[in-house]
Amino acid sequence: MTGPSPAAPAPRTNGLGLGVVDYRGGKTTLCAGCGHNAISERILEAMFELSVPPERVVKVSGIGCSSKSPAYFLGRSHAFNAVHGRMPAVATGAVLANRTLLALGVSGDGDSASIGLGQFAHLMRRNLPMVYVLEDNGVYGLTKGQFSATADRGATLKTGVANELPALDICALAIQLGATFVARSFSGDKRQLSTLLKAALSHRGMALIDVISPCVTFNDHEGSTKSYAYMKDHDEPIHELSYVPAREEIAVEYDPGTTVEVTLHDGSRLRLRKLEEGWDPRDRVRAVARLLESAQGGEVLTGLLFLDLKAPSFVELLGLPEAPLATLPEEVVRPSRQVLAEILEGFR
């Protein structure tokens, strides 16, 4: 056949005229089937669909398999792969230096819940405006399969060794400590994770998503509570979520008895159709209590667990100007000769 082939459909572009390809990164070096790869896909899709300029994003991470993953998406965004457990500090500094940046933190359960628990706690407390994705598989992958602090009591390693210590519930902690958007999801639940990521990107405060992300190499066997099979049986979504971007009209009516609608900081709306009686994501005490209950029953509650739209973010608390501190000109940041003279006069 010599004639021209039928024209391929034009690649889909977003509001910025960018294609999905503009949100891609390097080729992943993680294991095939790793939950983290799916999360990377969801992140770049969410950024693409919300037309986030990639140049405005900074990807920050610590050390571990999850922390490597920012190299595999958003190649047009700056990134800082820092030291183990210390992503929160680097993120805080970057956001204070330039509040117009959209900080996306990627960390793991070892990085956040063990070595970095102190920084994690204080980051939540400060309600730094950022999206924090915790890729949670209950084991250390890069060092070949030791338990992490989010491993459930009684869960076993491939060697049969059982974990004897209680699991640390990163979401319950975050809610208690002051994070203002706290969610849990599963790397295998494409729809829920995408919706939560978009909602998190619309939030102006600490948005933490703990994503159960099975480690296919070290923690996907029988006896694991972070495996694909286990999640299939124990994932308990607390509501059905739908995200309505700021510009879109809502066509479908909803029943206020069964559905809660919240308007996020950027004007987008999140609809939560309650599957569980009495669940309101704005109830901090109830959220923590329910998480503790569910852990005892072996359920993994997923969805938007807590949302506080009123608490000021750290940037607001510090009263920072709109313009980035990083690029304020010399005449703004260096006081005048007169000021120095006056100060010195006081020392005479």
Partner: protein
Amino acid sequence: MREAESAARDGRGGARSPKVNDFSLQVATVNGSGSQSSNTVLLRALFQMGLPVSGKNLFPSNIAGLPTWYTIRVCRDGWIGRKREIDLLVAMNPDTAREDVLGLPAGAAVVFDAPLALAGLRDDLTFYPVPFDRLVEPVAPDAKLRKLLRNMAYVGVLARLLSVELSEVERAIGKVFGRKAKARELNLAAARAGHDFAATLEKRDGLRVERREGNEGKVIVDGNTAAALGALFAGVTVVTWYPITPSSSLVETLIGYLRRHRVGADGKPTFAVVQAEDELASIGMAIGAGWAGARAMTATAGPGISLMSEFAGLGYFAEVPVVIFDVQRVGPSTGLPTRTSQGDVLSTAFLSHGDTQHVMLFPGTVEECFTMGVEAFDLAERLQTPVFVLSDLDLGMNNWMADPFPYPERPVDRGKVLGREDLERLGGFARYRDVDGDGIGWRTLPGTDHPRAAYFARGTGHDESAAYSERPEVFESNMARLGRKLHTARGLVPAPEVRGEGKAEVGIIAYGSSHHAVVETQAQLLEEAGLVTDYLRVRAYPFPRQVEAFVAAHRRVYVVEQNRDAQMQALLKIDLPGELVARLRAVAHVHGLPLDARSVTDEILAREETP
């Protein structure tokens, strides 16, 4: 006050040979009793009379109750380092009074709280009992207040005994208490009460001051305040910290200045300050901020430096500008938190694992705490690396006379940064490529609106484009480039300062606060032994070339420092050609007290006699 009958009367309680504008006095009090204000008033009054003066606070790691000593040295020759011998003791603390008196050299004078009944302890001292409680009783009805005012009363007593003009004491009280009218009046009254009482004492020592010209235009300030001002005028934008003695006051003072002088017309601050959860976080935040383009800093001391080690390596390897003020105290470990040392030199030079090396600045005066405070930010951005400013407790927390600080004339240097237009023109860039041959690549700031602006900063091995790489030749070439950058630093950091003709056989190398003892030592060596010396003050690491030239030009070089292990000498040994290493001789001490010239002089003389 009645003058002693005859200046010739010597021995028991007799008048001593006159010491005009040349003595050292020590006040022994209880921590938390308000003596800090009294001592500052005394220091300022002497300063206002035109006298070269220095004050050193020797305080415990405690809020209240433990002994504290404050030493003021008046020196007509202008030496402002610590002097070991005390000529006049003010004994206010019952717990230490006996030991303090027994430790005095013969001929010293003692002003003491009368109930302590110290006069019988020795017969080779001059004693002045003062009933402090009785003096301040009419001044304030409140017993708690009287406890504080006792200390201002000794200022009045000393003013009379030493011929310090009462009007200058009053002016100093006005300065120290400022707008707190009630406190000012009470303290004025207490000082006057002491002054009046001392008129009844028979002056039997030879210590006194005479007004002179000399301090016109000078200021009195501590090094932490000076460093804070340096950061302020450097245009610092992100300050992160964790409280630790003796660096806390640096940041607290800075916060005060930022609030006063760095709030825009819209009422918004042009800075961010975060008190972090620990030093790991404080340096991590500063590094994150420096990476994102802020002029970022933190301040700490020994234990904090230890905690910062991993991040310091990341800052070095990912090449992030950040300034770390290290106000050194005594280690190892918690050590002596309120005493001074130069003990962090070696560990800071190589802070972190692998082949990490850092740029360090060594301010030797409060002026330099300011100028280097400014310069550190320029160097950090020019060199794209952490810059450590190693001050110490003596410099940082004590008051020093200084010339007014020069306003920074050079514009702020933000280093090699590519913007959107540059990228448009160049079509892209490689973050770690040595395009200029100085080891320093060009960087972009996050948020730069260009599809090719991004790079992946990391602590893992990387190639010129910042991509992960484990290739041996890539790693080696990157490390070689970082080495070239350190070489570039030699030519950019502050050059050493040399004193002397350069023709002496004996050289002295020192740095930081040791400077003040060493210049006095030079004079003592000349005067007492006819020994001519040249002195090089190291002001930065990596060492500029002049350091090697100095060692090469002297047969014996004494390296004077305040630590046990001769840390600067160790750095010199690594840096210098092997044949010069044997010329170095350590004069290294760590006792927590500021270095004094006498000890250095005696040690050098002893070593010169038995080479």
